[in-house]
């Protein structure tokens, strides 16, 4: 978990790849997804390998929660962490770069 990132760093990290943007859009629209990485990848028309590192980064950020089902790692969206991140980013954007 990386709870104390500055707004700028957080924003850069959230949008550092196209897949991250697609994942954010998918989970904002569909917060009820609880799926394997492969399953999530399918929903944005990608393969597991294409999103694995981005998913890991979101897990590290606390934006995705994980639970294990047999051999699968399932990911779900943390609405609480998302709100926290959005607040930090909003403060940064409103206040301008420091």
């Amino acid at each position: 978990m990386v709870p104390s990132l500055e707004g700028k760093e957080l924003l850069e990290r959230l949008l550092s790849s196209e897949s991250k943007g697609e994942l954010l859009m998918l989970f904002h629209k569909n917060p009820g997804i609880i799926d394997s990485i492969e399953g999530v990848a399918r929903r944005i028309g990608k393969g597991k390998d294409q999103i694995e590192s981005d998913v890991k980064d979101f897990i590290d950020l606390g934006l995705f929660n994980t639970v294990t089902a047999g051999k699968m790692v399932l990911i779900s969206f943390s609405k609480e962490k998302d709100k926290e991140i959005q607040d930090t980013v909003t403060r940064y954007i409103k206040g301008g770069p420091k």
């Binding site: 569909n30 009820g32 609880i34 799926d35 394997s36 089902a69």
Partner: protein
């Protein structure tokens, strides 16, 4: 006020509840089978909303349709699923069928929401998606596991089954032999009559209860599904080739003859 009365779980569709002699039996697993366009999802949502209205939280478990799409479609009926989710009365969960095939897949997905909301109802949309991942004999085992899990958790469930039906043909619920695993079977059917597509519903099986045996017509209205009446004057509806009943034909011929005489 509870929507579960005398051990019956009401569906929210008044005349369907009448056909079921009060509703589904509490804790039962219901197979809701029908082809595309028969309103299975709408009936599933209506069933959950009926529970929510009367204090019973529910879960909609979808494999294919994204929650966003479901929110939009439900919105067209005036149902605000997002609001109900915020109020912790309903949860739309979207996952892949292969997740549930893992040994503790059901538990990983459902344990927390069932406990948090004290959910009493669940709709699974749809069992047919397991077909993509397993053989028929494994499918039966998977359905059995699901049914038993729901019963153990005290959930009354609707399991949606995408049945194939071409217009004008007869109908098979499931070739995979899952019918006997469920307590009740509700069959939805598209029927072509006079070049118009109409919808029929029939209760094919209901363990431990009497039920209506008639095929009845239903409509998908702007506020949900409504059972409107029976196809009194037609025969052969289940076979897919409806014809007017002999008495109706006679009445029509008589009427024509009478008109001819009057000229």
């Amino acid at each position: 006020m509870s929507s579960t009365r005398n051990g019956r779980v009401q569906t929210g569709i008044q005349d369907l509840d009448r056909m079921l002699h009060g509703g589904f039996m509490k804790g039962d697993s219901v197979l809701l089978a029908g082809s595309a366009g028969t309103g299975k999802t709408t009936i599933g949502l209506q069933y959950l909303l009926q529970g929510v209205t009367h204090g019973e939280a529910g879960i909609y478990l979808t494999f294919e349709e994204l929650p966003d799409q479901l929110y939009r479609d439900a919105g067209n009926f005036g149902w605000d699923l997002r609001k109900l989710e915020e109020e912790n009365k309903l949860k739309v969960i979207c996952t892949s069928p292969d997740v549930l095939m893992e040994p503790n897949g059901l538990e990983a997905i459902l344990a927390s929401p069932v406990k948090e909301m004290n959910a009493r109802r669940i709709v699974v949309d749809s069992l047919s998606h397991f077909n993509m991942f397993m053989r028929p004999e494994s499918l039966r085992m998977q359905v059995y596991r699901n049914v038993m899990y729901f019963k153990t958790k005290g959930l009354s469930s609707i399991l949606i089954w995408e049945a194939s039906q071409s217009i004008g043909s007869s109908f098979s619920i499931s070739e995979e032999g899952i019918s006997f695993l469920t307590d009740c079977i509700v069959l939805l059917k598209l029927i072509e009559i006079d070049s118009t597509l109409r919808r029929g519903v029939v209760i094919m099986k209901m363990r431990g209860s009497q039920h209506d045996n008639k095929l009845r017509e239903y409509e998908i209205t702007p506020t949900g599904v409504r059972v409107s009446g029976s196809f009194e004057n037609y025969e052969g509806l289940m076979g897919g080739t409806p014809t007017r009943a002999a008495s109706e034909k006679f009445a029509e011929l008589f009427s024509k003859a009478a008109k001819g005489k009057g000229k």
